[in-house]
Amino acid sequence: MALDGGLLVRHRVPFSQEPSGLKGVVNRFRITPMAVFWTLITFILVIPILLFLSVAFSPRLMSQGHQWFTLSSFKPVFSGAYGIALLHSLIIGVVAAVGAMIIALSMAWLVIRTNTPARVLWNTTIFALFLAPSYLIALGWQRLFEQRGVLEIMGFSVAPIRNLLYGPVGICMVLMVKGIPFAYLVIANAMRGLGEEFEQAVRVHGGSRFEAFKVMASLLMPSLFSAMAIVFAEAISDFGVASTLSSVGHFSVATYQLYQGINSIPVNFPVSAATSITLLALVILAILAQNKALRGRSFRTLSGRTRPATLTKLSLFGKISTSGYIVVLLIVTLGIPVFGAISASMLQGLGSLLSHYSINFDNYSRVLHSRFLRNPLIYSTEMSLITATLAVGLAAIASKVLTSARNSRSKRFVDFFLLAAVALPGIVFAIGYIFTYNLKFINDLGLHIYGTSFLLALAYTANALPSTSRSLVGNMGQIQESMMDAARVHGSGAAKAWVDVTMPLIARPLLIAWLLTFSGTLLELPVSELLYPPGSPPVAVGIELSLAGFDYGGGTAIEVLSILWALVVVGIAFFLFNRFAPPGWKRLGNLR
């Protein structure tokens, strides 16, 4: 054993020699998965976001004014109608985030850790909640409670509820409902990876059931904060409620002000960009608070040693009360809007001044037989398949970067741009795309992609990437790094180790993320509206066109069929997973 410090006789073997010439150049610029990832992130996220946001500071850069640098665009944001709308958005965002997190936490515990009978209902229903964009939930409520709506036709007097619905209470409720599935999936996935030893440790040391729950909640803290951050960001950047309840009820929110700014003549892009930056700052403040609260705490709990938790056996009273809670929640979140949509889709004459109404399936028949009404569903399905696959692939890489142990520059960079994209309303995002891909130098480069399905798919992907990535971060963060290291030292390359180890461990979350992205894209409204290729309207545009033509029956029938179709895809995907995935993949995160 030498400690002699003598010269090491070293024979450089061929593989370790520096490549030279063309080979060296190729090696230096070799196409790696990370290189592809960064290229895509740059083109679908960074450039469109930066170009649009830069208009707030430099209107001249995008030919929107004469000044190269100014802060005057921010002045209107904090005063008058913009200021009030911004304050409304902030309040609504906080209420929706806290409410959705509390409900989601209670539901995750009931579904994953207890034997409450109604949990089976919830797991199926949670996806339906995801499928329905906020504008569809709001439209369901609207169809029921509007003047000469379904309930008034049925003879009910619903004016007091209508007044509540078309104001802050209704907006908060719909955004909270829309936030619950986001929060639920983040919390539930983390809870599934949490063994029961932590709870047992509390109980054997004299802690009550409630104290064990508190310990579990603190172990779940990263997921709880992530859930609130996602719901807050989604709520303040939501456009669906802004375009429905907010506009009808005259309770302005920031995204609706943005929309009005973009639709006014002349278009005030600098102020819209400044409003977007302000919204972005609000989200970043929320995330900074989250990071500060979590500083220095490690929550890596998923490893080969984790034992699955056993279910808490509820008493009869417990089963009845928890099932009652779940059923009430289902009725409020899904039952009422679904009833609104289905009843409206079956009512002939809704939206007209007729005094006689009939109930039948004529609207569905029209949708299935009309190429004009049917094709949007086919087109949206194709786009959603591409988008979901691309977005989940990128999100898996992004979440890996975000959960790496080192606080690298790339981690901070991805974190910032994903946050920025979450905070940016979809409609603003779409405008960023219009700006960027209409620029002269982009066209000069031969990239004539504006108005194509390709650009729409990229925009969908960029729009879905932030929330998809965030939903995977909790799971990715629970994987012990030593498991990947073990795969590497036992002979697998980085890509193979990822496929063999990481992917099976997060197979279920990946599947869920894919289904969420698929469903979300299928019914996406703002990006579809601004970027769809001429002659190929996606579903959301098809519904909007029908409703704009007062074909409430046809519009709601497309809506119902689209959601049913999304549910069918979810069902098929889960069937295939449960049927064909290796047993070890299914064991992790499985509902017992």
Partner: protein
């Protein structure tokens, strides 16, 4: 890029054990120096244990050897093949080694059998041969019936056995152990230690094992390297480390029963007399000392006994006594401090007054930074009896 050990290996063929040479290895995490110009050579087929406290750089070193970490500078070579050298970094999967992790790092979605079989994929064996070897490896670690079990269905000891089977099944040229026993209870630790020692030597691979447990290190190693703050303090056979530690840190980290501060009163080559208050004690030293130097005297557990020797003894009172099967270990307090692990075949009751014999050969004096004041002119300084 050529991989090491890609060719298939026959079952009982001797492993082509690596000679591992590390030269000038440095690694920083921000301002923290995890490794600082580190040099080390591990001869082929030997079992080397790197011993050090938390933050000494041992994990960084073993992860750099595995290829999981990249060195900032310096080189690592396996035999004549350089695997890391100033920017060049060979991927871990190409180094033909295996590793046992502290947290086992078993893949929870794979059964015990699948976990072990994974390490054989790089050998490109046919399925029946692969299955045979996996079964053999599981049988070798006493888990032949646990192949279909998932990690969560196994105890901690069984999980670590699966990790051990995974490491040896491919008969790698280098076996790395990252504190593999630290999560196990004492009994399991001892049993697995024996298995690690025998299995590693059986396949003939070079082994590098890191731990902070000195008893584990002495039991396993052909050679022990003691690390501190990213630097190698000493590397030698266990006996040499124990008998002649290079410095106070090595001595303290490899096992002491207690320590006293004193002043050198006489020097006779490697033996010195040290005044402790009004008493004198004889001990060894490996560093040059002169009369009047302040020293710290470190006492090895093997240096002490309860006896009626009349030389190099100190009066003490028994504080505690613990039964250890083959005898009793006492904790005693003398006027200069507490001494633990004082062995005797018979128990002595707590509170008893005893004489502690201190063997001068296992009692080591090192220069002390702390200045000790003893009046050497006092005539009644108690001489060695």
């Amino acid at each position: 890029m050529e991989e090491i050990g890609k060719s298939t290996m026959s079952d009982n063929a001797p492993v082509n054990a690596y000679r591992v040479e590390i030269r000038g290895a440095s690694k920083h995490y921000g301002a923290l120096k995890a490794l600082n110009q580190f040099d080390l050579t591990i001869e082929p087929g030997t079992f080397t244990v790197l011993l050090g406290p938390s933050g000494s750089g041992k994990s960084t070193l073993i992860r750099s050897i595995a290829g999981i970490e990249r060195l900032d500078s310096g080189s690592i070579a396996f035999g004549e093949r350089v695997v890391a050298d100033n920017g060049f970094h060979m991927a871990p999967e190409k180094r033909d080694l295996a590793m046992v992790f502290q947290d086992y790092a078993l893949w929870p979605h794979m059964t015990a059998f699948e976990n072990v079989a994974y390490a054989l994929k790089r050998r490109s064996l046919d399925a029946s041969e692969s299955d045979r070897r996996v079964n053999e490896a599981l049988e070798r670690v006493g888990l032949s019936s646990k192949g279909p079990n998932y990690p969560f269905q196994l105890s901690g000891g069984e999980q670590q056995r699966v990790a051990l089977a995974r490491a040896i099944v491919g008969r790698p040229s280098l076996l790395l152990f990252d504190e593999p026993l630290s999560n196990l209870d004492a009994d399991l630790r001892e049993r697995l230690r024996v298995e690690i020692a025998t299995l590693t030597r059986e396949i003939g691979a070079t082994a590098c094992y890191i731990t902070h447990d000195q008893s584990e290190a002495f039991a396993l190693a052909d050679q022990i390297g003691v690390l501190r703050a990213g630097e190698l303090q000493q590397i030698a056979a266990p006996e040499e480390i124990y008998r002649s530690p290079a410095n106070r840190f090595v001595a303290a980290f490899t096992g002491t029963s207690g320590s006293f501060l004193g002043v050198v009163t006489e020097v006779h080559g490697h033996h010195v007399q040290v005044a402790l208050g009004k008493r004198r004690i004889e001990c060894r030293t490996s560093t040059p000392l002169k009369v009047g130097d302040s020293v710290e005297v470190l006492i090895r557990p093997s240096a002490t006994s309860l006896s009626h020797h009349h030389s190099n003894s100190l009066p003490a009172i028994v504080l505690d006594v613990a039964y250890r099967g083959r005898g009793y270990e006492h904790v005693v307090e003398c006027e200069f401090g507490v001494i633990s692990s004082v062995f005797a075949t018979e128990s002595t009751a707590r509170g008893s007054r005893v004489e502690i014999y201190i063997d001068p050969h296992n009692c080591l004096a090192f220069p002390s930074e702390k200045r000790v004041e003893v009046d050497l002119s006092i005539s009644e300084l108690t001489p060695i009896k």
